[in-house]
């Protein structure tokens, strides 16, 4: 395989990985308009990429607290640093159903999220990537543990 | 000349899919059976030339049907159409006299190729 063929193959691999990974990936521009929407986001939200692209994040998902989210995201745009949110702060960013709808005990998917800056060639940041993790299992175990601890202390 | 074709499958949908997958240009008279026992009764009446046979069925499954056909020396060609695609399943049905094994869901192109191969349908020049 030539170098350019290899690069194309690698590119296809990466695209496949983005689509299949059990993690949500969303790219947003300065106006919080959606630029990329991967398979996880599509499957859990029921919103297809062609329906999501170009839409404002907060219009499409009213469950996201706009001012809260913007405070985190603006620092990423401005300071070029990452921001993290954990399910203890807010159980979820997107209101998705629990990944185990039959045997699961949670009513929704608990989420951690990371916001990373995507840099231009000149180092400025016009886009950010939102990474969404399903942490329902550990959140539920934590809850159980706290319950047991409380019982032991009474 | 019309060919008498028997489609044997316990699933109504599978029977429909199978009959739809037959080439449009091929003149056939299609009869359906819901299990092997029904198929054998129909074959006994005579005239059937080709059977598409499922394997997993109640009452009498595909293997038993093939055995019955062989035992009674029935003059019919059998193509097995099955979701059970394990190597052993293919081998077993070939040993029992099936001329071909086609996996489900059926593919029209594959059916056409098999029919051409066995001279039941003409090739491209038709």
């Amino acid at each position: 395989m030539s170098d350019s063929q290899l690069e194309m193959t690698e590119f296809h691999w990466l695209m496949d990985i983005l689509q299949t990974i059990d993690v949500g990936l969303v790219v947003l521009d300065r106006d919080y308009s959606i630029k990329l929407w991967n398979g996880f986001m599509e499957n859990h939200s029921g919103v297809r990429p062609d329906q999501a692209k170009g839409q404002n994040l907060f219009t499409l998902f009213s469950e996201i607290d706009e001012s809260w989210f913007k405070k985190k995201a603006e620092s990423v745009f401005l300071l070029n640093t990452r921001a993290f949110t954990i399910s203890e702060q807010r159980p979820y960013l997107f209101k998705f159903n629990n990944n185990h709808p039959i045997t699961g005990r949670a009513d929704f998917m608990y989420q951690n999220a990371t916001i990373i800056p995507l840099n231009n060639v000149d180092g400025s940041t016009d886009h950010i990537c939102l990474i969404v993790y399903d942490v329902t299992n550990s959140a539920m175990s934590n809850k159980d543990l706290l319950g047991i601890k409380a019982l032991l202390n009474t | 000349m019309t060919t008498k074709v028997l489609i044997c499958d316990d699933s109504n949908m599978a029977r429909k899919q199978m009959s739809r997958a037959l080439p449009d240009s091929w003149p056939t008279e299609v009869t359906f059976a819901k299990n092997g026992a029904e198929a054998i009764e129909i074959i006994k009446l005579g005239g059937q030339e080709l059977m598409f046979l499922d394997l997993t069925m109640p009452v009498m499954d595909g293997y038993e049907t093939l055995e019955a056909i062989r035992k009674n020396d029935m003059p019919i060609l059998v193509i097995v159409v099955s979701g059970d695609i394990q190597p052993e399943a293919r081998e077993r049905v070939k040993n029992l006299g099936a001329i071909e094994f086609i996996k489900k869901p059926v593919d029209e192109g594959k059916i056409l190729n098999v029919l051409i191969e066995y001279g039941m349908v003409g090739g491209n020049n038709e």
Binding site: Q19, T20, D22, G39, F40, E42, N43, H44, G46, N97, N98, N99, H100, P101, I102, T103, G104, R105, D107, D134, N137 | D10, S11, N12, M13, A14, K16, Q17, T56, M57, P58, S82, G83, D84, I85, Q86, P87, E88, A89, K103, K104, P105
Partner: protein
Amino acid sequence: MSEIIALTEDERDCYQEITNVAMGQAADRLARLLGVYVVLPIPNVNIIERNEFKMTIKSLENAPTVSAVCQGFIGAGIAGEALLIFNDSSFSDIAQLLKYSKELNPKEELEMLMDVANVLNGACIQGIGQQLDINFSQSHPIILGQHRPISELLDEKHVTWQRTMAIEINYTIKDHNINCDLLLLFTEESVIHMNRLISFLLED
């Protein structure tokens, strides 16, 4: 809103046939992994109420204890879980086929359970997805329990659903004492979507 889901005979037949094809693909992979022949049954498709769920699970296995793994899947408005229930008496035969040591420790048992679950769950979910033209997301598997009575697998207090479509597949392996059940469970909402999706397959 609460449209009660039901299946017509044609719809049930359609799910049975779709499952039949998907489980055939799964069995083929397991057969190649273990070098055996997997006996394929006719799958059972039913709508079950939440209070019937325990009964359904209980009727699957008469073993005193079982181990179970479940894995969620979602895509195109269809969500559910694949639940693999493993008869504990199957472990020694599986170990032999997968060439694990004779004396199994719990870690190895977990490894085997996951190996088999990956093959069966994955192939079945993908197989159904392929036929409906859906690329399902699959979550990480969860152990529901190891070596537990089957009735303890599900925490009934926390059940949030009313009805589910359950597809039961009982896999046995020729010449070996191996028995496991794969239960595909779909949420009510999903069944409404799926009935719409399969309607084109049922057209005359």
